[in-house]
């Protein structure tokens, strides 16, 4: 791209506009991060007294098998939710970009899961999978007769992980859908016409026109979903507290049983470093920004 006076002017204006925000973010974000790093070198007691213990928090953590287990759970959770929301959001966006009756209503309805307060929909989901009265077991056992044992899907941490993933996909695909639909509507119609003339059927046009046009939005959606879900707490904890993703593990470490704020701080520091590293790689290598 040609750099021009116009672009330089715009950059200068941009700097002026973000300056106040940078100041506030500095106070609200940078300070806790430094405090966190500081805490991670101490043994913190409930009464607030701290003893410096060097890297002990880190070595304890790296020797804790529960830590590695929670990393594994987090990776599955991330893969499932990021891929799931992106694919479902893309499918919904493509569908909602077609002309049909009541399209505007349908476009609005799709957003409902995203608006709904998490606490109320969590109860709904727990009811669906309730081992005794739940719809899931009723359909699988009584209606379809696929099996005759009633499963407690949320009670078992292994299956609960998949329920939690499904829940997140259902709740958060609308944001992917929204971003993708906005871009989809601006794809010039004549590109599809040219591709059709060049012999591409509907699938080929999706592959050669839609996907390349959406590339950056898809990449942005994936990036946002990774950042959000690596830190996702309330959805998981409320629906199935037995699914120990990294944030849940950190919470148990810091506030439940043996309270260990220093250890929890160490987890966050490692997580922050990994996240920053991942995002840097992603932005440079995948997005090529």
């Amino acid at each position: 791209m040609a750099s021009s006076i116009l672009i330089k002017n715009e950059a200068r204006l941009g700097l002026k506009l973000v300056a106040p925000a940078i100041g506030i973010i500095g106070l609200l974000v940078i300070y806790p991060i430094f405090f966190n790093v500081y805490l991670s070198f101490f043994d913190v007691q409930l009464n607030g007294s701290k003893t410096f213990i060097g890297l002990d928090n880190y070595s304890d953590l790296l020797a804790n098998p529960r830590y590695y287990h929670s990393i594994g759970v987090s990776i599955i959770y991330l893969l499932g939710t990021v891929i799931g929301t992106t694919v479902l959001g893309l499918a919904a966006a493509v569908l909602m970009n077609q002309e049909f009756h009541f399209r505007n209503i349908a476009r609005g309805l799709i957003l409902l899961p995203y608006f709904a307060p998490v606490i109320s929909v969590v109860f709904g989901w727990q009811f669906i999978f309730d081992p005794v009265n739940g719809i899931y077991n009723h359909v699988v056992v009584d209606v379809l007769h696929l099996t005759d044992t009633r499963e407690n899907l949320i009670g078992n941490p292994d299956s609960a992980l998949f329920v939690v993933i499904l829940f997140d996909i259902w709740k958060h695909f609308p944001i992917a859908y929204l971003l993708l639909l906005a871009k989809l509507q601006s794809v010039p119609k004549d590109l599809y016409e040219a591709a059709a003339i060049d012999g591409q059927n509907a699938w080929g046009r999706f592959w050669h026109v839609t996907l390349p046009e959406l590339k950056f939005v898809i990449a942005t959606v994936v990036l946002l979903r990774i950042i959000w879900n690596l830190n996702r707490f309330e959805d998981v904890y409320l629906l199935a507290p037995n699914v120990e993703t990294l944030p849940i593990f950190t919470y148990y470490q810091a506030f439940a049983g043996i309270v260990d704020q220093g250890g929890a701080a160490a987890i966050s520091v490692i997580q922050l470093l990994v996240l920053v590293g991942l995002i840097w790689l992603y932005v440079r290598k995948v997005l090529k920004w």
Partner: protein, 372 residues
Amino acid sequence: MSSVILRNVNKSYGNLPIVKNLNLEVKDGEFVVLVGPSGCGKSTTLRMVAGLEDITQGDIQIGDRAINDLPPHKRNIAMVFQNYALYPHMSVRENIVFGLKKSGADAETIKTKLADVSEMLKLDEYLDRKPADLSGGQRQRVAMGRALARDADVYLFDEPLSNLDAKLRHHMRTEIARIQHQYNMTAIYVTHDQIEAMTLGDRVVVMRDGIVEQVGSPMEIYLQPANTFVATFIGSPAMNLFEAKVDGEELVFDKYRIPATSIANVDLNVLASHDTVLVGIRPDFFEDSALSLQRSPSDNLFAFDDIQVDLVENLGFDKEIMFTLGGENAKARLDLRSHVQRQETISLSVDLNRVLLFDTSTQGMLINAGEV
């Protein structure tokens, strides 16, 4: 290659008819040019052939296939869009070979086609660029290349040269003519450019408001226009039309009396049933009577004397003269040899074999078509 047949084709948007009962047969290997004023339905017609617009009524056939319900990707058509429609994420090279690849051409064919097309369209140095980094004319050439690289049954061109400078346009025009003769492609070509229409078309279709006004070879359209619309639309400057009274065997306007019997192919009985007619004279057919030109015996000259020249525009070899005749503003195109000046009074001659007569009320041609 294949023929294209449009039978009673209609297109409406809602209740608004855009193309009305269009019939056209493009023969195998024929190059048909579609001309007409802006908004007359040329692009719509092309898009119906391509399958991008559905047909409200009628049939379209390519070769012996009825294609009304065939989606565009199964029609094996190549098209140059009026607004290019290049793939923005692909390089020029990828844009050009995209359709060719899809059609299953082998690597060797793709390579030679790409080389041919990019040399012909002077795109060699831009092959690795993205469309966003090209000028309008360069993009248009890429769009052209994308179509010409294909091995399609029918080629559709929607004003493919409209954004090129005069020199490049001339180059491309001759290139298209060359390819056309070499490969005998079946093509429908939309243009506003008279020269393109005259030079490229095996046949020219003149449209107005969704109706075909005339189909014919370029010379037929030029010399024997079916009505005053075609007569004035084709040819530049436009044909002069003078309203004349029919007085026995003479046509009278201003102080001039033209012997109708001298006009080629006039049917005096038809003439007798009209009070007035429109006399059509192309500016090109006037000559400066002051020049003693070599005449052939078949010449059949009529001289308009005492013409007051209002304006002279020198165009290099040609000059355009504006004057008033029969109360109408009229134009004549003379050339270098004439030394006419503004405000001079001169005499202009016209070969009566070239004069056309039209019905004042229907605007239709009144002369039996003769040899062109």
